[in-house]
Symmetry: C2
Subunit: 357 residues, 2 copies
DNA sequence: TTGAAAGCGCTAACAT
DNA sequence: ATGTTAGCGCTTTCAA
């Protein structure tokens, strides 16, 4: 790829064919000024004579000069890179969050160093560690679990950090999340309103704070309506397969629930599979309500109801807090909780009329 | 967050409370050696006396020293950061690709600067530009379109680049992709084998090279079987909504196709929606075959058949090529094409028996 | 208003 | 085997 003749006029190569970056020094000598002046033009700091500004700008254009961020960062001791570590990128919710954050960051001249912890605390730690070595301006982190391994590391380094999504209360970090309890509380109430009494909540693992909040919301609503005894919570933990198996076993028993409230996207998938396998129709035989709204839910027939997390707002608040910190805000840790919305679709309806046995 | 008493013993702060990084100099003086020795220990270059190695290592541990990648990069003029620019992160396929790449990169001590072009060529260019200013060791790029705006920029800078997924033939860049033509050829043949004659292919836009290859594969197979006249290709371009509308109109006409081959994931969603709206059962009334295999497809009843792209292998080959380039390989551009697999599930079956009108 | 010069933290010659 | 030193490309006093 080196000697194919497409080398442009503005690229500089040395005798060995290695590309040689255009530095501030090249620009300075070509423009007949000092490197300090070039730097001043670059940063618009001290007042430089307009004609010099023009000349330097022209030369920079001709030479294709671009500031070396590495050198610049080393000298000013502040960088325009922010680290983002997520438990996974394969959740549509987190992928959307990452996309929004990247957009906001880029719009403000920041770059994102992205790491996936693969739902593993050790990997999370090693990602965070590697990013700290880059002297990132800040870290945005959705911790894998509540023990939050990288805590002490981040504190020691005094890196500006915003925790997103998987927030944990006993934290002195800024955090932006969703009011899970409120969300499932409202959603469960709605199910009860339309007539459901036997509701089965399907979660993943109680050790995830978010999940625990969702379960609490569900059980609180059930208790408030006095139907705790006919409601259940299934928390088999693990992946799609193990949730599916647990649900499979439950659906062999009677009576069947009239509504299934899946408390996560993977629970929704499991429920869809098991209800489908049993030939149960939605919403005639059983209603289905999910948590996390994905595109495919809306195109199914019937479309699946879901609690939707406000991705855009989550990203906006997270990035705002990050910028405030970067710009020197040293106020106490803030905790932002946003409300979810309930997307009520055709998969949820009144329960079937009871036929006495 | 600054004066809460949780400051660890290893962090150093100056009088103003700003955290002060531990540098190689601190380590050197604490260990009673020169900074060169510390550097040598860090990089394991020249032979250092074992006892000194041990002492330096201990001190580094005690002080919580971590090498400053920015300074290191500036000096050695090579970095361990690779840029990854994708048209979107919200496609499960690309999210999975990004995850795999990040894993491979991290395992080799590399970090990924990730950018989302949001399907927009201008944004792609501006992402690439920003990354080049960081002197990334290489760029992995899934171009938004075939014009591939950032081409000249990348060439001028001589950055090692691997094009992934959206490869374009007239390219002198390394590329790793999938054999789209072969994939749809095989899949279409299979549909024909089980008896389909009226097959409707639903794509997105012909201006995307991948899509064009898929269409060609489909039409070639149809022509080879002599059923071109009863097959159609729909390419409305745009998003889920506009594909849905186009498909909606087509399904109002007769005769209906006996099989729908959705040539992308968004086409699959549109097809699912429209078939569902029309009350057409799969596979009794019409078979559905998708391109790009997602988790939700397997849990539906019936499970949706799909052409699966080998994400893991794609990532592996891409990263391998990147590493070869970084390690100095200057051979000609390579073009890797991987085979897709056909996940034949219950949504595809023999067509219904024709009832003479 | 412009320029000379001192480093940011690290690596790699080159001395010792 | 260890230390001294000159930068990497840039920003930023401080002088002129």
């Amino acid at each position: 790829m080196n000697d194919q003749g497409w080398q442009s006029a503005v690229s500089m190569r040395d005798a060995k064919g290695n590309s040689q970056r255009v530095t501030i020094r090249h620009v300075a000598s070509a423009a007949g000024v000092s490197i300090a002046t070039v730097s001043n033009v670059l940063n618009g700091r001290t007042s430089v004579a307009p004609e010099l500004v023009a000349r330097v700008r022209t030369v920079m254009g001709e030479l294709g000069y671009q500031r070396d961020q590495v050198a610049s960062t080393l000298r000013r001791r502040q960088t325009s890179v922010v680290g983002l570590v997520l438990p996974t990128l394969m959740s549509p919710f987190l992928a959307a969050l990452a996309t929004r954050l990247e957009g906001l960051a880029h719009a403000q001249g920041f770059q994102l160093l992205v790491g996936s912890a693969n739902e593993d605390a050790e990997q999370e730690l090693s990602r965070v560690q590697a990013m700290l070595a880059w002297r990132v301006a800040g870290m945005i982190l959705a911790p894998v679990d509540k023990r939050f391994v990288s805590q002490s590391l981040i504190r020691d380094q005094g890196v500006k950090t915003v925790i997103v999504d998987r927030t944990s209360d006993h934290s002195d970090f800024d955090s932006v999340g969703v009011n899970n309890l409120e969300a499932t509380l409202v959603a469960t109430r709605r199910l009860i309103e339309v007539g459901h009494r036997r509701i089965l909540a399907v979660g993943t693992s109680r050790s995830i704070p978010n999940m625990l909040e969702r379960i609490t919301g569900f059980e609180t609503a059930a208790a408030a309506a006095g139907i705790s005894s006919s409601c259940e919570t299934l928390c088999p933990g693990g992946d799609l397969f193990s949730i599916g198996k647990a649900l499979h076993r439950r659906l062999q028993q009677r009576p069947l629930p009239t509504a299934v409230f899946a408390l996560s996207d993977v629970s929704t998938l499991a429920a869809l599979q098991e209800l489908g396998d049993r030939g149960l129709r939605m919403p005639e035989d059983v209603s289905l309500l999910g948590f996390d709204d994905h595109e495919w839910m809306q195109v199914l027939r019937p479309p699946i109801s879901a609690v939707r997390q406000p991705t855009d707002e989550l990203a906006r608040h997270t990035w705002n807090r990050m910028m405030q910190r970067i710009q020197g805000d040293v106020s106490g840790a803030s905790r932002i909780q946003l409300a979810c919305s309930l997307e009520w679709r055709a998969s949820t309806a009144a329960p079937p009329v009871e036929v006495p046995a």
